[in-house]
């Protein structure tokens, strides 16, 4: 179904750039992702006292305004997971987790300006899709970072 879904490595994308392909370079300032990660980690601190172990690893990038971003991640049934999304700018954040069959997983979402948090108990062990979007009235591109924890 998703056979049109193609992924390119950086080298391929650069060659497309040279040939005039419709591709944008990663112009996100490093500080933009760092700010977004700091926002996410700050929110995640509150979860540590609730027994969550927050991973040092994270994802980050730059999203188009209102454009959905998907991250595949392996979750283990029996753990409770929390994902915290941080953005560089205040924005309306939509956040959900889908099963391998693309069905929404029951979850609890809270948002707070630059960050959003989603908590869930995966119904079975497997690869899930974390999907989010950030909507901003002032910015076309929004640096973001995603951290996660479990307990």
């Amino acid at each position: 179904m998703y056979r049109f879904f193609r992924r390119l490595v950086l080298t391929s994308s650069l060659s497309l750039l040279c040939s005039g392909g419709a591709i944008s370079q990663d112009t996100t300032p490093l500080s933009g992702r760092d700010i977004a990660k700091a926002e996410a980690q700050e929110t995640a601190k509150d979860l540590v006292v609730k027994g969550f172990i927050i991973r040092g690893d994270s994802w980050s990038g730059e999203a188009l305004d209102s454009g959905k971003v998907g991250v595949r991640h392996h979750l283990f049934k029996g753990n409770e997971y929390v994902f915290v999304l941080g953005g560089t700018f205040p924005s309306d954040i939509e956040f959900s987790v889908l099963t391998p069959n693309r069905k929404p997983v029951p979850s609890e979402v809270t948002t707070d300006g630059k960050t959003a948090t989603i908590r869930l108990n995966p119904p079975k062990t497997g690869t899930y899709l974390i999907v989010f979007s950030l909507k901003s009235s002032d910015h076309e591109r929004i640096p973001w970072a995603l951290v996660y924890g479990y307990r």
């Binding site: 179904m1 490595v9 172990i53 991973r55 971003v69 998907g70 029996g78």
Partner: protein
């Protein structure tokens, strides 16, 4: 007509990837990057499913004899860090102390001692106090700092080697413990096709770019073994490995670890 957008994104310790959005077929930009679960993340679930004899899952913590250059040392460091999670779960202070020293030795050999020194000290302090939760966090931080430092000097192959070594040793310990007291629910934890495929791809890329003969030979062996692992873990029927498959997975992982440690 499909409308494409491209955005570059990163996962920590991963190479940047460009991903493509085709709005007509799937309404999201997908990241190719995969974050590898920590051994303790999986062990925690196993504890809820009856636990295991983590002391029995511990292996030798002595210095390894690997001779495959920097790639080999990075693989060893990944194995040792994963051993640290096993020792922490076993609450074995003596093993943790030995592992902390080995982490320092390997990091020093890779020129990264200063990156992990504080974390290793915290691990040693935690072991003497029985602060197991803090030790798990410090092992995670130590691994992250080393991979981060490698990324900064644009040596992502070394960073990926740490992930590969860590995942293989963690999976070996998990398969050992699950094999001791097998249930289908426990075996489900071994089913990690996304991670397996991701690490196999990285191992293949590292093998292609390795220049050192010993590294090439080691990576060739590892890729061959990881192809066997990936074949085991892909597919619907792989969601609950049988006792036989669990044993097979353990054996393959153990062989990789032995090769990394220069024991065969």
């Amino acid at each position: 007509m499909a409308n494409f957008h491209f955005v570059l994104s990163f996962a920590h310790g991963q190479e940047p990837v460009a991903t493509e959005q085709e709005e007509d077929s799937f309404p999201a930009i997908m990241l190719e990057s995969v974050v590898v679960p920590l051994p303790s993340e999986v062990f925690a679930v196993l504890d809820k499913l009856g636990g295991g004899n983590w002391r029995a899952a511990l292996s030798d913590q002595g210095p390894s004899n690997g001779r495959a250059g920097r790639l080999g040392m990075a693989l060893q460091l990944g194995v040792v860090l994963a051993e640290g999670f096993v020792a922490t779960h076993a609450e074995d202070a003596e093993a943790i102390e030995a592992i902390g020293k080995e982490v320092l030795r390997l990091s020093g050999a890779l020129g990264l001692r200063s990156e992990v020194e504080a974390h290793c000290q915290a691990i040693l302090d935690g072991a003497s106090q029985g602060a197991w939760s803090e030790i798990r966090i410090e092992f995670d931080r130590a691994e992250l700092r080393v991979r981060d430092a490698m990324e900064r000097v644009e040596d992502s192959a070394l960073a990926h080697c740490i992930s590969i070594g860590g995942w293989v040793r963690g999976t070996e310990a998990l398969a050992t413990t699950i094999g001791d007291v097998y249930t289908a629910d426990r075996a489900e934890l071994l089913h990690q096709p996304l991670v397996s495929a991701h690490l196999l791809k990285q191992a293949q890329q590292i093998k292609e770019s390795a220049r050192n003969k010993n590294s090439q030979e080691l990576l060739t062996d590892i890729v061959g073994a990881m192809e066997q692992i990936d074949a085991l873990l892909q597919g619907e029927e792989a969601s609950h490995l049988s006792t036989l498959q669990t044993r097979e997975l353990k054996t393959i992982c153990a062989q990789i670890v032995e090769q990394i440690r220069g024991e065969n």
